[in-house]
């Protein structure tokens, strides 16, 4: 199994996707796969109603507005290293930018315009690493993750982002 296809890696990638952009049709479809949905409901029971229904445009809009409030405009749970890890935040961003520039990852389309210190990018890179690399990367770049997930849990008003906060705790 490729290192980025382990169950742990894929869960990190799921969290990355949920944080990289608004929930779209393909993402909700992945979450609503019966087996997946069942597990997600166990992790965060409040997502059940959202996984049981067919999403209409209002559902997408509500999630998008919440995404913007949490992460984009005057964000209450900023998703960037620079908001938590002031010292060396440019170093973190620089490291990721360097990796991306070197063609290390072929980024999914909607990850391409994220700031280099964005949590989704960091999680994506993290999901590809194993062993010591993985531990080293986390301590260098993601030490602020508990702060972020705690913050997210407190601030968010949408069950799916509560779910993200839960997942981040074990990533």
């Amino acid at each position: 199994m490729l290192s980025y296809m382990t169950p742990e890696s894929v869960v990190a990638q799921l969290a990355a996707s949920l944080l990289a952009h608004e929930i779209d049709a393909s993402l909700i479809a992945s979450l609503q796969q019966p087996e997946t949905a069942l597990i997600l409901q166990k992790i965060e029971p409040r997502v059940a109603p959202l996984l049981d229904k067919e999403w209409n445009s209002q559902d997408f809009e509500d999630a998008a507005v919440e995404y913007c409030r949490l992460f984009i405009l005057d964000p209450v749970a900023p998703a960037r290293a620079a908001a938590y890890n002031e010292k060396n935040s440019l170093e973190v961003a620089g490291r990721i930018q360097f990796m991306l520039d070197s063609g290390f990852l072929e980024l999914p389309e909607r990850f391409k315009t994220l700031a280099p210190d964005h949590v989704a990018l960091l999680l994506l890179v993290y999901s590809t690493l194993q062993g010591d690399d993985s531990i080293q990367f986390k301590s260098d770049n993601l030490a602020w993750l508990p702060d972020f997930s705690g913050r997210l849990e407190t601030e968010c008003q949408h069950p799916l982002y509560l779910l993200v906060a839960q997942i981040l705790r074990v990533v």
């Binding site: 980025y4 169950p7 742990e8 890696s9 894929v10 869960v11 990638q13 799921l14 990355a16 992945s30 796969q33 997946t36 597990i39 166990k42 992790i43 809009e61 998008a64 507005v65 995404y67 913007c68 409030r69 984009i72 405009l73 005057d74 209450v76 900023p78 620079a82 908001a83 002031e86 060396n88 440019l90 170093e91 973190v92 961003a93 620089g94 490291r95 360097f98 990796m99 520039d101 070197s102 063609g103 290390f104 990852l105 072929e106 999914p108 315009t113 994220l114 700031a115 994506l124 999901s127 590809t128 690493l129 508990p146 702060d147 913050r151 849990e153 407190t154 997942i167 705790r169 074990v170």
Partner: protein, 889 residues
């Protein structure tokens, strides 16, 4: 982690894999990942790449070097090739890194979801943004009402690109904030010299004596950094003397050899007393005056007869003996001496005339254009054509769009819109002489009450934009604000916000900016702009080395997120609007555009980018430009025939004077219509008559005069002048969220003299309420009385304050702009993971000076309490006239 969760995660992962979830492709290089990535990051100058560009942190636009490592700009240093900075820079340059990488920067186009101002937004695509915007703008153009599109900028240094857009659209409404800043200061230069040159360019490297009225080049001032190092060198290394008249111990005042506190609005009185003294002592340069001033010296002598130093002492508080001595020292240092003035003298009801008095001093001692003296750059054209001398013809290479047609009678007159204006306004415009009526573009662009704001060139009266929209003087359908902070920084900012909130008055507001400030918070759509480290600009300004130059702002990194340069935004929008607009925007990318813009430069594009700066080598300095002989080329097609024109006659071409005969020779003279210095100018009484300003008002005088600021006459003992100032680490309202700047200055205590405090029964640190009164002069809403507004803050004593002045800075007290700008702490604490000690200094928990962390907080916003107070005729905001009362809280 509990086993349960652990198992859930494993199961979740397996389920996702089974379901085919995989957002990721990883290249083969994954295998090469190792510790090498782990050590990257520290700034390493042997690896970082240096690229020159132009700073955008304030209005100076210094040549700088940006160091890029790992795709990020990590440090700014000075560019030693920049002849203005000579390699120097200030703290604000580093602010570019702060505002490019701060975690709350706007990186995506956004559309309002809830009510305007409610703060609910969602991300949209650029295509959605352009489509909606074009659908709103296109009909205006098609239906012949393009003026209902209003473009309003705070800082635009694209050198014509935004104007190209508004012209192509057909609107005259490219509004600015000149009046907020400098129009009272530019008007005297326009009158005296025919150009404002972006100020005089004193030859400070070679000067021996400088008298400074309320200028603060060591902290702020357009050109300040260029001046500060030259003046400090002249002072410390060559013994030049700097005398400053100020109301507070500014950095400039503190480094001055002599510093006098002066009653606000009396700078002109001091200048007049100096003119009086110089004439009395016979120290004037008669030859220069007679050759170049448009007024007989005796007329000047008569006009200053009563302006004695003793009289000036009574008005200003500056001892008569010092005024006399300084005047004599100044005149004796001529021509290596110069005046300096800025808002301190100009932002008053009488500021335009005070600055004319100060400008007269230089003419009187004949230092104009001389080494060490009061020089004028060739910026804005000297011998007829527009454009800086010493530079090749550099212009925006796009197919030119014609200027919008004036609203003057006849051509292109928008009768419907005009008829909607109040009768008083229509009458005024109809009675204007042709020279103004032909430049009239409606009340927002060319407010008829303030004809000098647009007679010379368009300075606008920004603080009246919102009241005029409210009064219905101009219908607005789409309002586009660009790096504008009016909702925070304009006087009566609350009134501006009310208009911005009103969807009937402004049906659609699109804000283009890099940060979510007070202005963007009241928009319907926000478009993220690339920062100055991510985009191109043409740069040219006056050079304090007196040899013109140009520099290029170039991107050091790609725009972050989905942000785009203003040029790209306007170009793509023009194409979306279509209808012929797209024909004016032919370039596909910015670099090609700027390469062609600089086509005529005698060095290659690559070499220009490498150096960042170009200057003609071995060009003589811009001394005495007015004495230069007209060249054969300049004489071609004129009325000049050798020996045929008398001394003083104008050399004319197509009915326009391009030179003047002196000693039988055709020289350039000054770029005024009569090619001499207009110490006397009929434009002031003409404009006064046109708008109904009584000729008894000092502003109406053709010759400089001093008249007391109306609301300062017989100022009661319990009233004070409230004034504001800029700190060196900040730049207008744009820097509150730059973390290192805000860390140094985040509060704005009310400064006052210890004796003032004592008389008010105050001790340092006491909280007071400052109530600001409405102005009483002939101005907007004249006649309204009483308190405009109040604010509270603590007091701090300084011996260098004028005893009748209280003062605080206007940069801080943001109510938008994020964690740093608002000095916020988090509203709620994270559920866990917060080890109190470690998290203490993290940005997201708030800055150390935030009130919730026991700090002093982020200062007080004062602009709601300051009245809109445009100076008569010119419309410059009289920021420093405000009368206030103070009460202990």
């Amino acid at each position: 982690m509990s086993d349960l969760t652990r198992r859930s995660i494993l199961k979740l992962g397996s389920a996702l894999i089974a379901g085919g979830f995989s957002p990721l492709r990883v290249s083969a290089q994954n295998a090469t990942f190792g510790k090498s990535f782990g050590v990257l990051g520290r700034l390493d100058y042997s690896k970082a790449k240096a690229t020159p560009t132009i700073c955008f942190a304030c209005t100076n636009h210094c040549g700088v070097i940006g160091w890029v490592q790992d795709g990020l700009v990590r440090k700014i240093d000075g560019n030693p090739l920049d002849p203005n900075t000579e390699g120097n820079l200030c703290s604000k340059a580093q602010g570019m890194i702060s505002y490019t990488y701060y975690p709350e920067r706007i990186l995506y186009p956004l559309r309002r979801v809830g009510k305007r101002g409610e703060g609910k937004w969602k991300r949209i695509t650029w295509d959605e943004a352009y489509t909606e915007l074009a659908e709103k703008m296109r009909p205006l153009r098609e239906n012949g009402t393009p003026e209902e599109f209003v473009f309003h900028y705070g800082r635009d240094k694209t050198k014509g690109y935004t104007k190209h857009f508004t012209n192509a659209f057909g609107t005259p409404h490219r509004l600015n904030r000149r009046s907020i800043c400098s129009s009272n200061r530019r008007a005297p230069l326009m009158s005296f010299y025919g150009r404002d040159f972006e100020w005089e360019t004193q030859d400070l490297s070679n000067t021996k004596y400088v008298i400074n009225w309320g200028g603060n080049p060591y902290e702020a001032y357009q050109g300040g950094l260029f001046m500060a190092h030259r003046l400090q060198n002249a002072r410390v290394d060559h013994g030049a003397k700097l005398v400053t008249f100020e109301v507070r111990p500014s950095a400039t005042a503190s480094k001055s050899d002599e510093f006098y506190t002066v009653m606000p609005g009396t700078d002109g009185a001091v200048a007049f007393a100096m003119i009086h003294t110089i004439l009395k002592e016979g120290l004037e340069d008669k030859e220069f005056w007679n050759r170049w001033a448009n007024l007989p010296l005796d007329e000047l002598r008569k006009s200053v007869k009563d302006y004695t130093p003793e009289w000036a002492e009574k008005k200003s508080g500056v001892p008569a003996a010092d005024i006399k001595r300084i005047a004599i020292e100044f005149a004796k240092a001529a021509p290596a001496c110069c005046t300096m003035s800025n808002r301190g003298s100009a932002k008053h009801y009488n500021g335009m005339q005070s600055d004319r008095a100060i400008r007269t001093l230089d003419v009187l001692v004949g230092n104009v254009g001389k080494p060490g003296g009061y020089c004028l750059s060739s910026l804005r054209g000297w011998s007829g054509k527009y454009g800086q001398e010493g530079l090749p013809n550099l212009k925006l290479p796009e197919p030119k769009a014609s200027d919008p047609k004036p609203w003057g009678i006849g051509e292109g007159f928008d009768e419907v819109a005009f008829k909607k204006l109040p009768k008083k306004v229509r009458d005024r415009v109809n009675n204007f002489p042709d020279k103004w009526r032909k430049k009239y573009f409606g009340e927002l662009a060319t407010p008829s009450e303030y004809p000098l704001a647009w007679h010379w060139y368009q300075m606008r009266v920004g603080q009246l934009v919102y009241p005029y929209i409210k009064q219905g003087r101009q219908k607005v359908s789409v309002y586009m604000s660009f790096t504008l902070g009016a909702a925070f920084g304009y006087p009566e900012a609350n009134a501006a916000r009310e208009v911005l909130k009103d969807e009937k008055l402004i049906p659609f507001h699109v804000a283009i900016d890099i940060g979510y400030g007070e202005q963007a918070a009241l928009a319907d759509m926000i478009l993220p702009e690339a920062t100055s480290l991510e985009r191109w600009d043409y740069h040219s300004t006056n050079c304090y080395g007196l040899v013109p130059y140009t520099g290029i702002r170039q991107p050091l990194v790609d725009p972050q997120g989905e942000s785009k340069s203003i040029q790209v935004i306007l170009r793509e929008l023009a194409h979306k609007i279509g209808g012929g607009m797209e024909k004016h925007f032919t370039y596909k990318d910015d670099e090609s555009l700027y390469r062609d813009w600089y086509k005529e430069l005698p060095i290659s594009w690559e070499e220009f980018k490498r150096r960042g700066i170009w200057q003609e080598k071995d060009r003589p300095k811009d001394y005495e430009l007015y004495e230069r002989l007209l060249t054969d080329g300049e004489l071609a097609g004129t009325n000049f025939k050798a020996g045929k024109l008398a001394d003083g006659a104008l050399v004319e071409k197509d009915g326009k004077a391009v030179g003047i005969i002196k000693d039988g020779k055709a020289v350039r003279g000054f770029p005024t219509p009569n090619r001499v210095i207009n110490v006397y100018d009929e434009i002031f009484p003409e404009a006064a008559t046109a708008v109904g300003l009584p000729l008894s008002d000092g502003n109406a005088s053709p010759l400089a005069t001093w008249h007391e600021v109306p609301e300062h006459v017989d100022l009661p003992a319990d009233r004070f002048i409230f004034s504001t100032f800029k700190w060196n680490v900040h730049t207008q309202g744009r820097s509150g969220h730059w973390k290192y700047s805000a860390e140094i200055i985040h509060t704005n205590p009310i400064f006052m003299h210890p004796e003032t405090g004592k008389a008010l029964g105050l001790v340092e640190g006491d909280e007071v309420e400052v109530s600001v009164y409405r102005p009483t002069g002939f101005t907007y809403r004249a006649g309204e009385k009483g308190v405009m507004g109040s604010f509270k803050n603590h007091v701090r004593f300084l011996k260098g304050m004028h005893k009748r002045v209280v003062m605080c800075s206007h940069h801080v007290g943001h109510f938008e702009h994020g964690i740093v700008g608002e000095s916020k702490t988090s509203e709620t604490s994270p559920a866990e993971g917060k080890s109190s000690k470690l998290a203490d200094q993290r940005l997201k928990d708030g800055v150390w000076w935030a009130k919730k962390r026991g700090g002093i907080g982020g200062g007080v916003h004062i602009n709601d309490a300051l009245p809109i107070n445009p100076a008569p005729l010119i419309g410059g905001q009289n920021w420093y006239d405000n009368v206030c009362s103070i009460e202990k809280v």
